[in-house]
Subunit: 226 residues, 2 copies
Amino acid sequence: MNRLLLVEDDMATCMAISSFFANEFEILVKNNGFDFLDTIKEFKPQLVLLDMNLPGPNGLKLLASMKEHLHSVPVFMITVRSGEEEILKAFQLGASDYITKPFSLKVLEVRIRRWMQKTRSESVIQIGAAVVDLLAAKVTIDRSKTDLTQKEVLVLRYLIANSGQVLSREQFLDYAWGYDFEGTSRTVDNVILSLRKKLGDTNDRQAIIQSHRGLGYSLNLPELLK
Amino acid sequence: MNRLLLVEDDMATCMAISSFFANEFEILVKNNGFDFLDTIKEFKPQLVLLDMNLPGPNGLKLLASMKEHLHSVPVFMITVRSGEEEILKAFQLGASDYITKPFSLKVLEVRIRRWMQKTRSESVIQIGAAVVDLLAAKVTIDRSKTDLTQKEVLVLRYLIANSGQVLSREQFLDYAWGYDFEGTSRTVDNVILSLRKKLGDTNDRQAIIQSHRGLGYSLNLPELLK
DNA sequence: TTTCGTATGACACTTCCATGACAAAAGGAG
DNA sequence: CTCCTTTTGTCATGGAAGTGTCATACGAAA
């Protein structure tokens, strides 16, 4: 699950955001700007929501100090003020987006998702006729539940995380078995096989887990955005 | 110079934007949504600013129809209305950003700049009428999708990586088959043949994959992304 | 022990693609 | 322009490699 660092001192906003995204992201809330860099290094968030007005160093200062060292982590600035100067400054310092209060949580969600380049990172996701809960390792299809084994969860998570892309058997082995594993390609095939069974997949041209001869497998969700 | 397509019926906004960006971008202004797709195909903008309220088809419709064919061009929606539904819809349809009037021209500028820097590293490429996704091993042309085989992916990747250059059959064989492969030249030809079919290519003077007698093949992209 | 997860091998089946044959096109020489 | 050669376009086909699937063996956990 993706990690989200929220740095915000207004309790109402904190509560709103963290409860709204609770199922989607692992959220760490900080109420001030102290120890900002250390927090990021430890928590390793995929994205940071950063308030402008904070006790301690203010948002722009934090952004500046952070972008010196950790260039790759995207930062969304959040603020009640929306002065042009400040917005420009924020973008100039490397902010990825700039959200003005009050804002819609749903809109914030799509902006975050778009930036993470992941359309779905929920733990519960619909795959064809099946509803998959990766955390609980369960598949529900037509009201009947099936458990997923460890390997099945790993393989499926990898498929979902890279949905649409063709993944080679080597990649699966590296991800789910470890780099030192000396397995045959049959090993991956069999996990795919059982996944297909549990997902009620068909293995034809409309298959959700598609085979690509000589390349690997890919997960093709029917309608990515409905 | 980067090209910017502005589709907007309010003259004041048009004037403001086009004069502000005159030195930075080559701007084409359209006052309505007619001939939208054709305009894009001819003008080949790096980015589109699209108003929601237009004479003719409205902004969301245009966005939807466009994203079916031209994935790679980022679109910023511009509007006076800012209903949550509409914003969500726009993002779901593939909008890259959503700007609410009135807006600061300078802020618009940094948002545009930031997005132009971001779009360079995409795995989805437009080749003629086809949209190619090498990671997904897939070609979309007129809404119908075709899978690419292993050899097709390799050859096409090599063509794209060296687009514009003439590549000999030997080079293809070395890259996609391996140095020790003892194949005939027909082997490469057949892959090129099937690629042309899947890409909807013509094999004439305007062909995208061009033959060079005695030399090899080259990929000629119409200078959309360089 | 029994049970479950997992890895491996066997076998049938499917698909790709290398090959060769021939047609079509391009280029060069006369 | 015409003929001839060389190169390329295109198709059919057989073989071989990749894959689906099942049965089985092993080990860990209950």
